[in-house]
């Protein structure tokens, strides 16, 4: 009995020493991570707002309601309003096909879905120029029918759809795979048709994951620079999105206006993060 107590005592003190080391290590790691985040993410973010508001609130708002800036904001909203729903619908379809059915070429399809992430956005933009540009494969046909895609809004929307496609699918596949097909089969045996099964069983089960994917997709759609830059042609008031407009203003040494417009994107990012963590919190609760 005595020896047992002694070892027990010895053990607890050893645990204490170990836990003190652990806590030092823990705070050291947290500190380094915080310092890094502060230096590389928080400071630049603050810089954006401080630069934007440096010459006063009036100039800040003036930069935002200036016609060209306003046109860029509208174009960005239109682009997202088209690209996000399309990617949501096709994302759900693709995720459903991949997660719930077995078919040949499934892995090939998965690889295809990942291409927009793997390829540089500039190349994505170039692909569209090569396809639809005046020297491109479909150029003569489009010119004949007076359809403008490159250096116009359709090109910007196409490039944005391409770049943001994987967000919704990638978010949904693991959730749908995890849930399997049992509930859908149960719904069918209970007499539900395909639509009823989708809207009453499948969709409610994936809604938080879907929302998460949509938010990320939207953030990227509004913030995309590379691919859009290649296809847009940078026509002020016509084919400039917010990121492109920021670049133009910056290149013209109009820093206050550049940062003011940029602050919109930063705000969008912050809003995205808030909604994202709310959704995450909701998902965990379910």
């Amino acid at each position: 009995m005595v020896s047992r107590e002694v070892t027990l005592h010895f053990d607890t003190s050893a645990v204490k020493v170990a836990s003190r080391f652990d806590s030092i290590r823990k705070w050291l790691l947290i500190g380094v991570a915080l310092l890094f985040l502060g230096l590389f993410i928080l400071v630049p973010l603050l810089a954006v707002f401080s630069e934007a508001l440096k010459k006063g609130v009036q100039l800040y708002f003036a930069a935002l309601i200036e016609p060209n800036a306003w046109a860029a904001i509208k174009l960005t909203l239109v682009t997202a309003a088209v690209a996000v729903p399309i990617n949501t619908i096709f994302g759900v379809i693709a995720a459903w096909a991949i997660a719930k059915f077995n078919f040949e070429g499934k892995n090939f399809m998965l690889t295809l879905i990942d291409i927009p992430f793997a390829v540089s956005p500039v190349i994505a933009g170039l692909v569209f120029v090569l396809l639809f540009g005046s020297q491109g494969m479909l150029g003569p046909f489009l010119a004949e029918h007076n359809i403008k895609i490159i250096f116009a809004v359709p090109g910007i929307v196409l490039a944005t759809i391409f770049v943001t496609f994987p967000f919704v699918v990638r978010e949904l596949i693991p959730i749908m795979q995890d849930q399997g097909t049992d509930e859908e089969q149960a719904a069918i045996t209970l007499g539900a048709n395909g639509w009823q099964t989708f809207f009453r069983v499948t969709l409610p089960n994936i809604k938080w994951g879907l929302l998460y994917g949509v938010i990320l997709c939207n953030a990227r759609a509004m913030g995309e620079f590379g691919a859009v830059s290649v296809v847009s042609g940078h026509i002020r008031g016509l084919t400039n999105t917010i990121p492109l407009h920021v670049e133009i203003l910056y290149n013209e040494y109009n820093f206050t206006a550049a940062f003011a417009v940029a602050s919109l994107l930063a705000l969008l990012a912050l809003a995205t993060l808030v909604i994202k963590s709310m959704v995450e919190w909701k998902t965990q609760k379910h």
């Binding site: 049992d182 509930e183 719904a187 069918i188 045996t189 209970l190 007499g191 539900a192 048709n193 009453r200």
Partner: protein, 361 residues
């Protein structure tokens, strides 16, 4: 509703899951599809439900060809192995689902749905859980809700896939009795899949023993247990000792025409143990003794051939035998050795079963 399964086959890519199955299920019957995993029993059940297509053959419901009918048209109740309750719906909504998705013209009113759901929840004795979510229920409760949900659409056939497979032993025992009662009350044709022979023997009116996609035997629990069609059925329906070669010909001295490689079988509880020889029996050494509740199991080693056997005694016969410990020598009598003329797997047709009584002199 009576179900006829006529020469049904199904293969997954190149793996044959179900091969030429013939089965007749009369209205109101309680049928167990019994077999080891991979024997095709679940595939057969899913084909009856319409969840799986057939490669060949026909499925008739009340004599009408239902082979190409959709799941919806078949009006079957299906209970899934892992319950498959809708996790985002309350228990009420789960049970009401089948009624709420009906087309408007034959959908019951809200009040009727509410009454029906409560009636079903009373039947499964879980009315108090009406507002809970599936995640708040125990496994046994979920299974009962799954059954209530399947019964809500008033199916004429109830199909259950390993209904109690994921539950612990005690709950399983309770639910078996309870499901039998429900079957008696509602008298719906019921087919369930199980790999547990005890479950099948205890619950079913008819047992269909399956192996490698084929039906080995169809019969009442009585028939399949006491008159197994072949060695597979015999060994699947309980513990068994195999006696081969020399050992067999010695124990069955009267049989002279035993072919080489024939296997004899005897159930552990059919081995009779005595302390003193009465002319019959062979000398065995006790290797291990362990008691499981009301029975005692013994590992025995035959003295002259080193063959190992398992014997099972009730606690009473064990006491009658007197104190036995590891290493003791006993006389074992093999009274009911069963020999099948064909080995398992060579044929699935019913075979004449030959019984021998060992005689030792």
């Amino acid at each position: 509703m009576g179900i006829s399964i006529c020469d049904v086959s199904k293969a997954f890519s190149s793996f044959p899951a179900v091969k030429n199955v013939e089965l007749e299920i009369p209205t109101g019957d309680f049928v167990a599809l019994l077999g080891p995993s991979g024997s095709g029993k679940t595939t057969l059940l899913r084909m009856i439900a319409g969840l799986e297509s057939l490669d060949s053959g026909k499925i008739l419901f009340n004599g009408l060809d239902y082979t190409n009918k959709t799941v919806k048209e078949r009006k079957v109740g299906f209970v899934f192995q892992h319950y498959a309750l809708f996790r985002h719906m309350t228990i009420f909504e789960n049970v009401a689902f089948g009624l709420k998705v009906r087309p408007r013209r034959n959908r019951p009113s809200k009040r009727e749905i509410k009454e029906k759901v409560h009636e079903l929840l009373r039947l499964v004795q879980l009315e108090h859980l009406v507002d809970r979510y599936p995640s708040q229920l125990s496994g046994g409760q979920r299974q009962r809700i799954a059954l209530a949900r399947a019964l809500a659409v008033e199916p004429e056939v109830l199909l259950l896939d390993e209904p109690f497979g994921a539950l612990d032993a005690k709950v399983r025992q309770e639910l078996r009795h309870w499901l039998r009662e429900i079957h008696q009350k509602l008298n719906i044709t019921t087919v369930f899949v199980t790999h547990d022979q005890e479950e099948a023997l205890e619950m079913a009116d008819t047992i269909v023993v399956m192996n490698k996609g084929m039906v080995e035997q169809i019969g009442s629990p009585e028939e399949v247990y006491h008159h197994p069609a072949n060695a597979f059925v015999y060994s699947f329906l309980g513990r068994v000792n195999e006696i081969t070669g020399k050992a067999l010909s010695e124990t069955t001295l009267r049989v002279t025409d035993l072919e080489k490689g024939t296997v004899g079988y005897i159930r552990p509880h059919e081995i009779v143990l005595k302390k003193t020889s009465e002319g019959l029996g062979m000398l065995v050494e006790v290797v291990h003794i362990h008691s499981v509740g009301s029975t005692v199991r013994m590992q025995l080693k035959r003295r002259d051939t080193d063959d190992l056997y398992e014997a099972e005694l009730t606690i009473e016969t064990y006491k009658e035998l007197g104190a036995v410990s590891k290493g003791d020598l006993l006389h074992a009598e093999f009274n009911n050795i069963v020999v099948f003329e064909n080995e398992p797997g060579t044929s699935h047709s019913l075979q004449e079963q030959t019984k021998f009584t060992a005689a030792f002199n």
